[in-house]
């Protein structure tokens, strides 16, 4: 089954125009529940109640307001909100290119795949050039009346479009004000930790990481559908080991014994 594209547009860089369609590259598999009344299993309805009149309000009587001061709202119509989208058409406008590896993972938000539209030539050309150069095109595009910063890169022979977070949205490590320990770490402790890391090195194989919890929730649902009673929750958390060096020594011993 061919997936449905969510956007038709054009990637531009300089005078080169690459007609594309965008597809969601990810889909959540989290089991979705509805809110229900435990007593009778009936789904809940969300009703809007006016806080001034205490009466139910129909959706057609609702407007959107931004609170500029306490209890002072500026009401915006959908068209006014749309004005913030700007005047960009259906374009992913690449402004410049950067080394794809330079972009810290913290900036990546959501990924789309671009497939070619009409003509595969310009698409294939851009994909190859991105792949060979190891670069990502940085640009902007407007989707559902909102402008996004994006990185356009090659991934497994296709073009991936990642939306990026803006710098001011990113919390810095220094903002956390983490205190340094009074007693500094010894070289021995750091090197023991290093060898523990070495011993646990393993290439990333995504297929090895299943959502086992999701499977268990699925089993629980099926058991309940058959009318079975659930088990009691088990809890067993780790104890804190007070002495760092002896914990490291014991860990390395356990690792060597296990291998």
């Amino acid at each position: 089954m061919a997936p449905r594209s969510i956007w038709n547009g054009t990637i531009t860089f300089g005078l080169v125009k690459v007609p594309i369609k965008l597809y969601s590259a990810t889909e959540s598999r989290t089991i979705r529940f509805r809110q229900v009344h435990i007593k009778d299993g009936a789904p809940l309805e969300h009703r809007r109640i006016c806080t001034a009149e205490d009466v139910e309000v129909e959706y057609s009587e609702i407007v959107k307001g931004y609170e500029v001061n306490e209890d002072e709202y500026v009401v915006l119509t959908p068209d006014e909100v749309k004005a913030a989208a700007g005047d960009r058409g259906k374009v992913v406008e690449i402004e410049e290119f950067v080394d794809a590896a330079e972009i810290d993972p913290i900036y990546f938000e959501k990924t789309y795949f671009a497939g070619f539209r009409d003509d595969p030539e310009p698409y294939a050309l851009l994909e190859r050039a991105l792949e060979r150069s190891g670069k990502a095109g940085i640009g902007r595009f407007t989707f559902h009346n909102r402008e996004y910063l994006v990185a356009v890169r090659s991934r497994l022979g296709v073009i991936a479009v990642h939306t990026l977070r803006f710098e001011d949205e990113i919390v810095r490590g220094g903002d956390l004000n983490i205190s340094k320990p009074k007693k500094p770490l010894s070289k021995k402790e750091v090197s023991m930790a290093g060898s523990l890391i070495e011993g646990l090195r393993d290439p990333f194989r995504p297929e090895n990481h299943h959502d086992e919890h999701r499977e268990q929730v699925r089993e629980l649902i099926d058991a309940r559908a058959r009318g079975e009673k659930p088990k009691k929750p088990r809890k067993k958390d780790r104890e804190n080991v007070p002495d760092l060096t002896s914990a490291l020594e014991a860990s390395i011993e356990a690792q060597q014994g296990g291998s």
């Binding site: 054009t10 860089f13 300089g14 005078l15 597809y23 990810t26 889909e27 598999r29 229900v36 009936a42 809940l44 309805e45 809007r48 009149e53 609702i62 959107k64 307001g65 006014e80 004005a83 960009r88 259906k90 690449i94 410049e96 290119f97 080394d99 993972p105 913290i106 990924t111 795949f113 497939g115 070619f116 595969p120 310009p122 698409y123 294939a124 050039a129 402008e147 991934r155 990026l164 919390v171 490590g173 956390l176 340094k180 320990p181 007693k183 770490l185 930790a193 090195r201 990333f204 995504p206 990481h209 959502d211 919890h213 629980l220 958390d237 780790r238 080991v241 007070p242 490291l248 860990s251």
Partner: protein, 291 residues
């Protein structure tokens, strides 16, 4: 600083570090409230049982899912029964190079901060930060938050432990779903495209990109507050039809970007100086990329 979303320990061998999970991305969006048009009073959402037509309080709400047309109702306690034994622990399973993890897997970014200021906690935390920075490795582990299990990548960033929740492999779609690319670009054209990319290349400086949407929305709000009318602009008229001659478009781009750059501090690459014809430009860039 954003508030902690979760508290627990991160376990590394037998070393346990009490930590709290702090969102590493701020929500700077302007959020709107629903107002009753008539009196501009905010509306509040109340939950009603669709069967009894009565309001329902929080402790009467369960999670329902339909199985074969029948509603199965689970409570939070039911869901807790299938949580892993060590549900307050991020158990490190392996270490890997960060380059091996495609950015597509990264979901929500967080920091792990020490949960207390005891000497033992701070030393164990610092040990993890130091050892991970030195080895340049990312730890992969799992933890449970709000009755959902997450795969997480933990690494050193700016002297702290950064954690990213990750998508599970079955949540990432296969690229096979895309239309097959039945085109083999001309090697000379790829050379030219790479030359264009090089010419338009710069350092990654995230601070220079502003959220235009947020800025414009702020302006719209301010204008409306002063009673001015705001209308959405018409989309820009642009010729988006692909260039009939791809090579010519690439070369023209190369020339014009070269001109733009020459006025800036950046040095132009020799490839962009030549206003020359097809063969010359292609040759030049071939040499450049081969070198």
């Amino acid at each position: 600083m954003p508030r902690a979303k979760w508290k627990g320990t991160i376990g590394f061998g037998l070393v346990n570090v009490p930590v709290e999970l702090i969102p590493a991305a701020r929500d700077l969006d302007y959020h709107f409230r629903e107002l009753h048009e008539k009196d501009s009073a905010p509306v509040r959402r109340h939950r009603f049982c669709s069967k009894e037509n009565k309001e329902v309080s929080w402790d009467e709400i369960g999670r329902g899912i339909e199985v074969d047309g029948k509603m199965v109702v689970l409570t939070d306690a039911d869901l807790e029964s299938v949580q892993p034994e060590r549900n307050q622990t991020i158990e490190i399973e392996s270490f890997t190079d960060i380059d091996e993890i495609d950015p597509i897997y990264f979901d929500q970014p967080y920091f792990l901060a020490p949960a207390n200021r005891s000497a033992g906690t701070l030393r164990a935390y610092r040990l993890l930060v130091t050892a991970m920075a030195e080895s340049e490795q990312v730890a992969l582990g799992r933890f449970v938050m709000h009755t959902k299990e997450y795969l997480a990548a933990v690494r050193e960033r700016e002297g702290a432990l950064a954690l990213s929740t990750m998508r599970f492999p079955d949540e990432v779609r296969s690229v096979d779903m895309l239309p097959e690319i039945d085109a083999e670009p001309d090697p000379a054209a790829i050379d030219d495209a790479v030359a264009v990319i090089d010419e338009l290349s710069t350092e990654w400086e995230p601070a220079k990109y502003e959220d235009h949407y947020r800025l414009r929305l702020r302006k719209v709000i301010d204008s409306r507050r002063k009673g001015r009318t705001v209308t959405a602009p018409e989309p820009r008229e642009e010729d988006l039809s692909p260039a009939p001659d791809l090579m010519a478009a690439l070369r023209k781009t190369l020339e014009s970007s070269g001109k733009k750059r020459s006025s800036s501090k950046r040095k132009r690459s020799p490839a962009s100086k030549k206003p020359a014809g097809a063969k010359q430009a292609a040759k030049k860039s071939t040499k450049k990329t081969a070198g």
